[in-house]
Each structure stands twice: as C-alpha cells, then as structure tokens.
Subunit: 229 residues, 2 copies
DNA sequence: CCGTATTTGTCCGTATGTATG
DNA sequence: ACATACATACGGACAAATACG
C-alpha cells in the first residue's frame, strides 16, 4: 500500500518525526482548502492515506487543535475548525495588534536595504493591481506582510503572527478583491513604510494597526453584502 | 499501582479526555516550578506516575510543545522549554502588544461596574504594597491584569495573552520585587484605568503597552544586576 | 570504535462511546 | 427504544534510534 501521499520515502532522511510531517501535511490540506471547516479528520482514513499508523496521526491532530486549526470533540473525533464571524473579528483585532508591534519594532531596525526591498514589493503590487492579476497580487501581498513581520526581528512575533493569519485563512472568502480595493490597500502599504522610516515608533505601530483594522472592516462589509450578518 | 497522582478516579465523570487531563497536570507541574526549564519529560516515568499508557502522555506533550511550554528533540525526548533572555524580551514585546490591544478594546466597553472593580483592585494592591505582602500583591496583580484582558471582550486575545504570560513564568525570577517598585507599578495601574476611561482608545493602547514595556525594562535590569547579560 | 542500556517511534488489539437504521 | 456498525480512546508490545560506558 504505497500511494502518492505516502510519507515513507521523504522521511528516509529522518530529520523530522512522523507526527511533525503529518502535522504539516494536514495543515497544508486545511490551508489549501482541501479539508474545509467542519470536515472530519478521520483517523483510520488518514492513516491509510498516508501509510502510517494512527498514533502519529492522533499526535498531529492534537497539535493542530492546540494551534486552533482544528478542534476535538471527545469520543466523536477531530474536525477542521469552524470560524464564526465573531471569532474572525477577534482574530483580526489580535492580528492587528501583532502587526502593529511589527511596525513599532521595525522602526528601530529599518535600514536602506530593507527600505528598498519594501518599496520593490509595493511597486510589484502596483503593477499587479493595474494588470488585475489578483492571484499574483494576493501572493505578493502575503509575502510583503511576511517580510515586514520578519524584518521586525522578533521570532516569537513571527510565529504568532502566522498562527493568526493561518486561522484567518479558514474563513477567507475568495473573490472579495477588486482592482480598486487593491490600489487603496497598496497606498496604505506605502504609508506604512513611510511611518516605519519616520523613526516614530508609536506612529508606525498605529499605522500598521490600522491597516489590518481596515482589512477587518472590508471583511465585515463583505460579510454584510453576502447577507451573513 | 495506584498512587496519589492517579487520574483514574477524577476521570470517572469522563468529561475530558485523558490526554487533556494530563496536559493540565503537566502544565501545572511546569508552572508551579516542580518541573524546571530543561527538565526532561520522561514518557515511561510519567505514565507510571499517572497510571496511564504512553499514548495520552505523548499527546499531552505534543500539546505543551505546540503552546511553547516544552520542546521536543527527535529521538531524545521532550524537555521543559528553556527561555533565553533574548526570547524573554521577545515575549515581553508580544505580551505588550496583546495587552495594549486589551486597553484599546476595553476603552470601547468600559462602564461603571468595570471601573469600580478596577479601582478596587488598585486599592487592594496599594494596601498590600504598603504592608509589603509581596506574595499577595503578586497574586492580586495577576488577577488585575487578567480581569483587564477579560473585560476587553475578545476570547482569542484572552487565550493568547495567557499563553504568553505562562511562557514568561518559565523565566520569572523570584525576589525581584521591592516595595518601591510595587508602588510605582501600581501608579501605572491607575494611569491605565484613567486612559481606558478617557475614551481615547489609541492613548489607552499606548498606556497599556508601555506598562508591559516597563516591566520588560525592569526584568532586563534585574538580569543585568544578576550579571546575566 | 563497539556493545549495551535506555528511550523514543511505531503499530495493533481491545473496550467504550456515539450515530444510525 | 433497541440493535448494529463504526470511530475513537486507551493500553501494550515490538522495532529503531540514540547516549553512554
């Protein structure tokens, strides 16, 4: 029983434990949308699919639960986490706070090399927005924010920020982008860079915070338009 | 083999899975300092101690690892997380950001009932500081901050804030309190309440943020005094 | 450098609890 | 309401990797 998902071969290097590899695979399945919120994570099915026993599967699922991507119901199983609108708003607020911290910290570390890379990102996104290449814009946008957070020089923050971005992916609605919104969003990006370059760390924090706060408002609006209030 | 730590009896209600109960027990052992940073979490020893098999123990340890209280080294075992000074500073910064968010959110929700309770806390702490009852002050201080965060009305924030406070407990040095510091700290508490009551949520956020930032500075100073730079 | 002791990693069997007809 | 089927929770045993003498 060796199928395409089998983890045996790539594990031959034995650098990571099986449960860690499975955890990453499951995480990918969830974030890629192959497993949707509410879907059940069946131990037996997954163990057959990945060619392992159920032990490592269970450990991987525990890990996913601890990180908020899944939730366990006793004697019933583990399910992909369902994020309610209220919880999504909460996630946005925490993400805003974390991102704001990134802005505050970045202010004390920013240099010409970082600045150039940031402006390159914004330029790229401007081009992609005008070309209406939404998918590429989306990806570059994520990279830009990721680079900002990593440049803040706080590993705990990076880890935590990603945890919240991942959870927000659980309720990300596709197709709520339009060219106008992208251009506006990108103007905010330039403002953030300027704020970080100004040396005023409190201002930078607030600017970064509000960028995510606006994303929250756009998300709320899109929910209301969809009649999901 | 039934000893005092056996979880069999209290599990009769069967409301929680064994791994969850074990996770809580291990967490308590770590936070109470019975298991110190760097200590090994021996599967066999723990399974005998708690009267269970290794499966649930492993799942509980996975959970602790995911929450940053322990870390696993492949083929060597799981150890209580050791927090380096640099990591502690990082934790303080993230905690500051989360606490700042609490201040910002609280500003929009504060009412007379909350306000009264907050001032009661400060009064209690003033009394305890003057009486030099450090232990009681410490406990009340934790409760005060906990109440502030819970009053912000964001469950994700509460959960995340506690996660960071717990991790900071791993490197909390005892005996770095003195009556003067407590009085100063408590003055900051009153300032935070005033800021939240002012209705200016940005100001509140900054005030809350700086309260933790100052705690970070005090922590850094105490490390330097101890020659741990 | 090798053998041994120890611990982890993995797998499977059984019992218990849950959903469904 | 009862019985059946199924998934999970837990325990135990074997295999593999590592540390230490």
């Amino acid at each position: 029983m060796t199928n395409s998902d089998d983890v045996g071969l790539e594990r031959s290097s034995a650098q990571f434990s099986l449960s860690v590899l499975l955890q990453r695979k499951l995480e990918k399945l969830i974030l890629d949308g192959e497993l949707k919120p509410g879907d059940k994570l069946n131990e037996l099915e997954l163990s057959k699919r990945f060619g392992t026993s159920r032990g490592p599967i269970r450990e991987a699922m525990q890990n996913l639960c601890a990180r908020g991507l899944a939730e366990a119901v006793r004697n019933r199983g583990v399910f992909v986490r369902t994020i309610t609108p209220v919880e999504a708003f909460e996630l946005y607020d925490v993400r805003a706070a974390l991102f704001g911290l990134a802005g505050r910290l970045l202010t004390d570390r920013i240099d010409d090399a970082i600045l150039k890379k940031l402006y390159d990102y914004v330029e790229d996104m401007d081009r992609l927005a005008q070309a209406q290449q939404y998918s590429d814009y989306y990806r570059t946008n994520l990279e830009f924010h990721d680079y900002l957070v990593r440049s803040a020089g706080n590993k705990m923050l990076v880890r935590e920020y990603h945890s919240f971005v991942d959870r927000l992916h659980l309720c990300r609605m596709r197709g709520l982008v339009n060219s106008g919104a992208l251009t506006i969003s990108n103007r905010e990006h330039a403002e953030m860079i300027d704020a970080a370059a100004s040396g005023n760390n409190q201002r930078a924090q607030e600017t970064f915070f509000r960028h995510v706060a606006r994303a929250k408002l756009r998300f709320r609006s899109s929910l209301e338009e969809a009649g999901l209030t």
